[in-house]
C-alpha cells in the first residue's frame, strides 16, 4: 500500500468505526442495563462509561417472568411466525410453479392480478380486514394472526421469477422418466430453488416476528398475544422499570439475532434480491 492509499484506508475505517459505534451503543445500553439493579439502571444512563459498570444482577430477568407471561408471548410469536412461514412457503411456491411452468387458460390474467395485489400493503386493508374477521368471529385467536398472511402476492412473485430462471432440462428429464407434476415439483424444482425458499422464509419471518399493528387490532388476551405487543404492554405497565424492560428486550431479540448470525448470508442475499427485482 502506498502512503496515500494508507491514509484513504484509515479514513474509511474511521468513518466505519464511528458508524458502528452509533449502531452498537443503543444495543449495548440495553444489554448492560438489563443486568443492573433497578436503582442503578437510570443513574447517568447517558454516559458511555456507565455501559461497563460493575453491578451485575439477574433480578431483571426474574422480574420479567414474574410480571408478564414472557414464555407465553415467546411461544405465541414463534408459533404464529412458523405457521405463516411454513404455510406460505408451501402455497405460494406451488402457485408460482403453476404460473411459471404449467399451461392453463386464464393463467396470464391471474398472474396480472397477483402482481397488482402486490402493491396493496396490509395497512391499506387493515380496517376492513378487521371488520371481516370480526364478522367471522375470529378475533383473539391464533388463526386470525396466521390465516390472512399465508398467501402472499410478493412471495408468489419472488418464487415465480426464480422458477422462470431455472433450466427446464431437469424437469423434462424427470417427465420422460414418468414423474408427475407433484413429484417433479417436490423432488426436482424445490431442491433446486433453495435460495428463493430461504429469501421468502426470511422476509416473511421478519415481518411476522415484528408485527405490532395487526395483533394490536385483533387480540386482547395474553394467551394469544405475540412478543411485540407484549413489549408494548410491558412498557406501559407500571411501575416503569427500565432494567426489566431491557431484560425483556434482550430475551426478545436474542432468538432472532442467533438466527441472523447463523444464516447471515441468506439474510443479506434475501434482502438484496428484493431490490434487484424492483
Amino acid at each position: 500500500m502506498s502512503g496515500k492509499q494508507r491514509i484513504a484506508a484509515s479514513a474509511v475505517y474511521l468513518l466505519l468505526v464511528a458508524l458502528a459505534f452509533a449502531f452498537l451503543v443503543p444495543v449495548a445500553m440495553m444489554l448492560s442495563g438489563s443486568f443492573k439493579p433497578d436503582d442503578q439502571v437510570l443513574v447517568q444512563a447517558g454516559r458511555l462509561s456507565r455501559l461497563f459498570a460493575a453491578e451485575f444482577s439477574w433480578f431483571n430477568y426474574r422480574d420479567v417472568f414474574a410480571r408478564v407471561p414472557f414464555a407465553r408471548y415467546l411461544f405465541n410469536s414463534a408459533f404464529i411466525s412458523l405457521c405463516v412461514v411454513a404455510g406460505g412457503l408451501l402455497v405460494n411456491s406451488l402457485a408460482a410453479y403453476a404460473f411459471a411452468r404449467l399451461h392453463w387458460p386464464g393463467r396470464d390474467r391471474l398472474l396480472l392480478l397477483v402482481v397488482a395485489l402486490m402493491i396493496i400493503p396490509l395497512e391499506a386493508i387493515a380496517v376492513p380486514l378487521f371488520y371481516e374477521v370480526t364478522l367471522l368471529g375470529w378475533r383473539d385467536t391464533y388463526w386470525v394472526q396466521i390465516i390472512p398472511f399465508v398467501a402472499n402476492a410478493f412471495s408468489i412473485y419472488l418464487f415465480y421469477t426464480f422458477f422462470l430462471g431455472l433450466p427446464r432440462e431437469l424437469e423434462e428429464a424427470a417427465r420422460i422418466d414418468g414423474a408427475g407434476p407433484w413429484r417433479i415439483f417436490f423432488r426436482i424444482v424445490a431442491p433446486n430453488a433453495k435460495p428463493v425458499f430461504a429469501t421468502v422464509a426470511i422476509l416473511s419471518f421478519l415481518t411476522q416476528w415484528s408485527a405490532l399493528l395487526w395483533p394490536l387490532m385483533v387480540t386482547h388476551s395474553e394467551t394469544v398475544r405475540p412478543l411485540p405487543l407484549g413489549m408494548a404492554t410491558f412498557y406501559s405497565l407500571p411501575p416503569l422499570q427500565w432494567g426489566d424492560i431491557f431484560a425483556f428486550g434482550v430475551m426478545m431479540v436474542t432468538p432472532v439475532l442467533l438466527i441472523f448470525v447463523l444464516f447471515q448470508r441468506w439474510f443479506v442475499q434475501g434482502v438484496a434480491t428484493t431490490g434487484v427485482k424492483g
Partner: protein, 292 residues
C-alpha cells in the same frame, strides 16, 4: 384437461387466500368508506356518499397526520438513502473486516420496531439519562441545552425519524451494496484509462449504474414513511398536540377508539391512493431511463 385441473389445484390455496384476505377487504374498504358504518351503532347502515372524506379532510388531526407523514418522508427518505449509499460505498471497499461492519449495520433490521422504539425512548430522554442529549452536550462542549425530544412538538417527529433511520438504514444499504457489486469492473478500468479521478468515476459510472436501485430504495422508503405506526404508537401516541400523529395512527384510533369503521376505511383509502401514486411515479421514472 387434466393439466388445467392440476394447475388450479396448485394455485387454489394461495389464490383463495389472496381473494379472501387482500382483494375482498380492499374492495370492502372502498365500499365501507362511502357508508356510515360504526360498530355497535343503533343507526341503520346507509350510503352517505363522500361524507366521510369530507369529514376527514376537515379534521385537524387527520390533516396533521397527512402533513406529518409527508414531513417524515421528506426527512427520512433523503437522509436514509444518502446514509445507506455512504455505508454501502464504505463497506464495498476492498479492505479487511468489511463483513463485520456490514453485519453491525444490518443488525438493527432484525430488531422489531416495537423494541427499538422502547429503547430509543431512553436514548432520547432528557437529562443525564439520555444518550443523545449527553452526546450533543459533549460535542458542543456544554453549549447544548438538554431537550425532552419526544415531548417537544418541534422535535418529536425528528426524534422518531432518527429512530426509524437507525432501525431501517441497513436494509437499504444491503440493496445498494448488491447493486454496487453488480457494476461491471470494466467500466471503471475504461474510465481510469481515460484519466478519470475517483470523484468522476463516482458521478459518471457509479451513480448512473445505481439509478434503478436508488429509485427502488427511494420508493420503498417513501411507502414505509406513509405506513408509519409502531414508533408513534409506542413513543408518543401521536402527541404532543398531534405533532407526530400519522394516517395509520388516526385510522386505528377511529376504528377502535370510537368504532368508526367507515371513517377509518376512508383514511386507509387515502393512504392507498398515496401508495398507488408513488408506485406509478416510480414506474414512470424507471421507464424514462429505458428511453435514454
Amino acid at each position: 384437461m387434466k393439466n388445467t385441473q392440476l394447475a388450479w389445484l396448485f394455485v387454489l390455496p394461495a389464490l383463495s387466500g389472496l381473494l379472501c384476505f387482500v382483494l375482498f377487504p380492499f374492495v370492502l374498504s372502498l365500499i365501507l368508506s362511502f357508508t356510515n358504518l360504526r360498530l355497535g351503532s343503533p343507526l341503520p347502515l346507509e350510503f352517505v356518499g363522500f361524507k366521510q372524506y369530507q369529514r376527514i379532510f376537515t379534521d385537524a388531526a387527520f390533516l396533521a397526520a397527512l402533513r406529518n407523514n409527508s414531513l417524515f418522508a421528506l426527512i427520512v427518505v433523503p437522509l436514509q438513502t444518502g446514509l445507506a449509499l455512504l455505508m454501502a460505498l464504505l463497506v464495498n471497499q476492498p479492505l479487511r473486516g468489511m463483513v463485520i461492519f456490514r453485519s453491525v449495520f444490518f443488525m438493527p433490521v432484525v430488531f422489531p420496531l416495537s423494541l427499538v422504539a422502547v429503547v430509543w425512548i431512553l436514548v432520547l430522554a432528557p437529562g443525564p439519562q439520555g444518550l443523545l442529549n449527553q452526546l450533543l452536550e459533549t460535542v458542543t462542549l456544554g453549549a447544548w441545552q438538554a431537550r425532552d425530544f419526544l415531548h417537544d412538538s418541534a422535535w418529536a417527529l425528528a426524534a422518531i425519524s432518527l429512530t426509524s433511520i437507525w432501525q431501517g438504514v441497513g436494509f437499504q444499504m444491503v440493496i445498494l451494496l448488491a447493486a454496487l457489486q453488480g457494476i461491471p469492473q470494466a467500466l471503471y478500468e475504461a474510465a481510469r484509462v481515460d484519466g478519470a479521478n475517483q470523484w468522476q468515476q463516482f458521478v459518471f459510472i457509479t451513480l448512473p449504474q445505481l439509478r434503478n436501485a436508488i429509485i427502488f430504495v427511494v420508493l420503498v422508503t417513501t411507502i414505509l414513511a406513509f405506513r408509519l405506526f409502531d414508533q408513534v404508537q409506542i413513543m408518543t401516541q401521536g402527541g404532543p398536540n398531534h405533532a407526530t400523529t400519522t394516517i395509520m395512527y388516526e385510522a386505528v384510533n377511529s376504528a377502535f377508539g370510537s368504532q368508526q369503521v367507515a371513517r377509518a376505511a376512508a383514511m386507509t383509502v387515502v393512504f392507498f391512493i398515496v401508495v398507488l401514486l408513488l408506485t406509478l411515479l416510480q414506474r414512470a421514472v424507471g421507464r424514462q431511463q429505458g428511453v435514454n
